[in-house]
Every structure is written in structure tokens, then in C-alpha cells.
């Protein structure tokens, strides 16, 4: 039997349905791959091999009895380690939660289990989702499968690297300001941040609640639609989730963009500092025009202010959300002589430096005296950013932008380069501020042969258009398929 690694979920489904392969064999092959490649990649915080094999066998038994085992039955996936898994360690890559075993599953984890998908483990991220490279993980950084010295992006760099390194078929993570789309771009896979409210956040360890959204990494657009079919929908346990009218997302995978109006925001192009990325964007636009779409330059005038606005809102919400880690109900406790000293010791030893920085910034901008100067200003600018999108998206069906200003950078590069971090955020965080859906699609390789990506932004609940345009690009160019450049067979 030839290798099953690198195949998509829909290809594997066909083989599983015809009983040409078993789920157990499929999971075993991926576990072997993980065992071989983890020394180099370090994508996983926890690998749950035994549980995965057990689940795969159950799926195989169901199938042999003629039962319908679910739409993603037997397909191996990875979960970012900020999604709660019952009885299985969920750390958010923080010392604070090093030994935390949640008593319940996140809503999306339940949904995936119902669909028969098999989780093989939990992936590394920047601590609590705060970072753009996995360098802020309390445990270890993850390495980009396309080059060991390069970061995989972040926060959800582990999950993106796991898909790229063929350790799993797809993965789930969360996106607060680009945590899915930026690593997707750096690792040559698809990353989808759904419309705010389209997917339940129940059981997602909160970073910034008005920005966070659970989404996925996949190898192609068809897999993206299949995963969306499973994870989308209202959940009574998340009061901000709403029902999504779409139905079956695969019906939007049509190779037809005729008549679509696609805007290209000029402010986004100004952030790009790799001419190849600009060239790819132009190639994509030219292809879409050839297929009958209309591409025009548009303006989102408040783009330059987005990253600052995001920094303040992010920090404010983080400081509030992370107040719950006090050494009382769960998480690290460091004994102190009294209650307050126990709080302080636990939090100071449990959180890493970036998390402390965000908590302090957030506490500062929410404090009386600073609130109106900073936080309130940011909320008002958020309105302007949202209105910019509303105006442009009333005339255009979606927007096409670069996903990142550069390809993956080396370890240590953003530490002293705040402007790089700012331009990374500038391209991705506006979608979170406005709550609109955004898709990062691999498109070509930058200098040094590492992948780079394009981003599609749509109207709230307009995932349909992102799927259509993404699918058309995938079907009509050879740039969306990431080359399997993972080092040798490792």
C-alpha cells in the first residue's frame, strides 16, 4: 500500500468507505509519522496515541457493521492545546495549566467526535494564544516544516506545522488577530477564521472574547468546507454563537467566479515587504479576472490604526479573562503566607513574560484615568474599521489581500522588531475587529522557497464567497497546492 500521508480528508474518506484502508491503519501511519518527525518539528504538547487507536477501532467496527460512522469518520486530526479535552491535558502552552485536565470537552471537540474524526493529540501554541511564532510557548518552540530555523507562525503554529508536516490531515485552532491565518500562510496550508459567532467558543480557553473564533487548518478547500460542516452552528452554551443559514458548505465549491466583484485594499499592499508576495497577489487577481470576476483597488482608510486599536482591546480583554487564574479552582498554586501572596506567587510563576505584559497593559488601559484615553478610543476606532469594511463590502463581494507581509521569519526576528509584528497584525487583525470571515490560502513560495499566502475577507456570514473564490483559485492555478517540501521523509 502506498503512503497515505499528505492525502486530504475527502480522498481518505473515499478509501475508507470502499474499505481499501482501515481507520486503524490510517491512524497508525500518522502516529508513526509523528514519532519520526516530532524531534524536528515539535508540533505536539501531548500525543494521545492509545486513545486515537481505540477510537479508530471503534470507527472500523461501526463501518464493518454497516453503520454510518460520521462525515469525518476515522480521519486523524490535531487540536490546538487551548481547546478543552475531557480528561486529557489542556495546557494553553502555559505553566499555569501544565497539569490541567478539563472535566468537559469543548463544543467543537464534541462535534468532531460525533463526526467520527480521530484526535491524535494537542498542539503547541504561544502561551494563551499571545504571540506570532510559538516562541512564547512555556514549553518549547515549534519549528517550521519548511525550514528548521524558521518559525511556524502563531499563535497556533503547532497545529499548522502538524498539518504541513503530514502528521495529521487537518487541525483546529483559534484566531484572535491572525493566529490561524498567519501560521497557515507560513506553513503552506489553508487557515479559516469563521465569522464571529459562527462557531461555538465553549471550551476554548479564552484569550480576548470579542475577537476569538475557533477555525481550522486544512490541505484544500474541499476539506475546509467538510470541517466547516461539522463545526459551524449555534450552541446554547455559547451565548455569542448564532445559527448559520448556509447548510452544506460543499455546495459552494463551484468553479465559477463570473460576475463577482473583488476589492483589493491598497493599504494592505503597502505593508508587504516581499515583492514576490505582491506579484502573487497580482497573478491571483489576473486569474480571477480571466475567470470572469472583476478585481478593483479599494481603500480601507483606517487600516493603519488597526494594529494599535487591536493591541489595546486585546490587552484589556486578556487582563480580564486571565484574572481567573488565581491558584484556587484549577491551575498552578504556589503557596504563600496569606491569600494575596498566594495569588501573586501563583500568577507570577504561572505566567510567562508576554502574558504578564498583556495583563499589565490591559489593567493599565482599563484603569480609571486611562480608560477614556486608551480603551474607549480603541473601541471607537473599532467602529470606524467595522464601517470601512461595511462600506467596501456593500459594493464588493469579497476582498483579496496578502495574508502576511513576509514569508516565515527566523527565530528571534520579531523580538526586537516591533514594526514586523505590527505589519503582521495589520493584515490579519482587522477581520477580528470587524467580526468578518477570513481565509488564508497558500499561494506560491517566497524567497528561500518557504510558502506564503493570500487572504480573502468576506461579509459577515459570507463564507460562501470565500469558498467560491478560494476553490476557483485552487482549481485554476498550480500555486495553491503547497509542495510537500517537508524535509526528506524525515
Amino acid at each position: 500500500m502506498s503512503s497515505l500521508l499528505g492525502l486530504t480528508a475527502h480522498q481518505l474518506q473515499g478509501l475508507l468507505e470502499k474499505k481499501e484502508i482501515s481507520s486503524e491503519d490510517l491512524v497508525k501511519e500518522h502516529l508513526t509519522r509523528i514519532a519520526q518527525s516530532e524531534e524536528q518539528i515539535k508540533a505536539f504538547v501531548t500525543v494521545t496515541g492509545q486513545e486515537a487507536l481505540q477510537q479508530a477501532r471503534t470507527i472500523d467496527e461501526k463501518r464493518s457493521r454497516g453503520e454510518q460512522p460520521g462525515s469525518l469518520a476515522g480521519i486523524p486530526l490535531a487540536l490546538t492545546d487551548n481547546l478543552c479535552t475531557q480528561g486529557i491535558k489542556t495546557t494553553a502552552s502555559s505553566r499555569m495549566l501544565r497539569d490541567f485536565r478539563p472535566p468537559y470537552n469543548a463544543a467543537v471537540v464534541e462535534k468532531l467526535q460525533e463526526a467520527g474524526a480521530v484526535s491524535v493529540g494537542k498542539c503547541n501554541l504561544d502561551e494563551f494564544g499571545l504571540g506570532a511564532s510559538t516562541e512564547n510557548s512555556a514549553f518549547f518552540p515549534t519549528h517550521n516544516p519548511y525550514g528548521e530555523q524558521a518559525v511556524p507562525g502563531g499563535a497556533c503554529g503547532g497545529a499548522a506545522a502538524a498539518v504541513a508536516a503530514q502528521e495529521v490531515v487537518f487541525a483546529l485552532g483559534s484566531d484572535t488577530g491572525g493566529s490561524l491565518r498567519q501560521p497557515a500562510s507560513f506553513c503552506g496550508v489553508i487557515g479559516l477564521k469563521p465569522t464571529y459567532g459562527a462557531v461555538s467558543r465553549y471550551g476554548l480557553i479564552a484569550c480576548a472574547s470579542s475577537l476569538d473564533q475557533v477555525g481550522c487548518f486544512t490541505r484544500d478547500m474541499t476539506d475546509c468546507a467538510l470541517v466547516m460542516n461539522v463545526i459551524y452552528g449555534r450552541d446554547a452554551k455559547d451565548s455569542t454563537s448564532v445559527s448559520f443559514p448556509a447548510g452544506d458548505f460543499t455546495k459552494f465549491l463551484v468553479n465559477d467566479v463570473k460576475g463577482l466583484k473583488i476589492g483589493i485594499p491598497r493599504e494592505y499592499l503597502q505593508e508587504v515587504n516581499d515583492p514576490r508576495i505582491t506579484a502573487y497577489l497580482q497573478q491571483a487577481a489576473a486569474k480571477l479576472e480571466e475567470l470572469g470576476a472583476v478585481c478593483e483597488e479599494v481603500s480601507l482608510p483606517h487600516t493603519a490604526e488597526a494594529a494599535s486599536c487591536y493591541n489595546l482591546i486585546l490587552a484589556a480583554e486578556v487582563s480580564s479573562n486571565l484574572a481567573r487564574y488565581d491558584g484556587v479552582q484549577y491551575g498552578l498554586r504556589v503557596q504563600g503566607e496569606d491569600l494575596v501572596s498566594m495569588y501573586k506567587k501563583s500568577r507570577s510563576q504561572g505566567f510567562g513574560e508576554e502574558v504578564k505584559k498583556q495583563i499589565i497593559l490591559g489593567t493599565y488601559v482599563l484603569s480609571s484615568g486611562q480608560y477614556e484615553d486608551y480603551y474607549l478610543q480603541a473601541l471607537k476606532v473599532r467602529t470606524l474599521i467595522k464601517e470601512d469594511f461595511a462600506q467596501v463590502l456593500s459594493k464588493y463581494d469579497c476582498l483579496l489581500t496578502p495574508a502576511t507581509p513576509t514569508a516565515a521569519f527566523d527565530f528571534g526576528a520579531i523580538k526586537d522588531n516591533l514594526s514586523l509584528l505590527t505589519s503582521l497584525n495589520t493584515l490579519t487583525c482587522p477581520a477580528n475587529l470587524a467580526g468578518i470571515p477570513a481565509l488564508s490560502l497558500p499561494f506560491g513560495t517566497a524567497a528561500q522557497g518557504s510558502p506564503c499566502g493570500l487572504q480573502l475577507l468576506g461579509r459577515a456570514f459570507g463564507e460562501e464567497t470565500l469558498l467560491r473564490v478560494g476553490y476557483a483559485l485552487e482549481q485554476n492555478t498550480n500555486l495553491t497546492q503547497p509542495s510537500p517540501a517537508v524535509k526528506g521523509e524525515m
Binding site: 468537559y104 448564532v242 479552582q329 513574560e353 489593567t363 484603569s367 473599532r382 467602529t383
Partner: protein, 94 residues
Amino acid sequence: MKITEQEVHSVAEIARLELTQEEGQKITHALQVILEQTEALKRLEISKVKPTVYVLPLQNVFSEDQLDKCLTQEQALGNAPEVEKGCFKVPRII
């Protein structure tokens, strides 16, 4: 207006964090840069703009008070660092 190291330490106190001297210096520097960048926001004419706290036009609604599946006491206490008589135990308060 620049945030000082002393302010950073006193905000840390409010957030129940203890910073080492080195952490204090690094965080102060980082916050100075971030806050400096936000000065651009103040140059926008936004006095009449309404703030956006949440992007969805959702309103709070009340639901029927119904019993649902919930965690057992044992599960709820399962991750607690210290437990006594079915309660979370904390150090002496008074």
C-alpha cells in the same frame, strides 16, 4: 505621556503580579512603545463615534430556568490544588 517603571510595578500589584526588576524594565519599555503607537488614534476625529464592544447585534434574552446536565462536585473539584470537605481551600484570610 510615558508610562514609568514605577507605574508598571503598581499596575502589576493591582493585577496580582510580582515582577522581577528585569521583567519590570522590559515590560516598561515594551509598553512605552505600544502606548506611543496608540497616540495616532487620538489624532482621529472620533468624539461623535459610538464605541463597538461587540460586533454582533445580539441582545440579552432570558431563557426558561431548566435543569441541565452539569459537573458533579467531584469533577468541579478535580483540578483544585487544595480541597477540604468538598470546598476549594485557600490560605488563611483573616
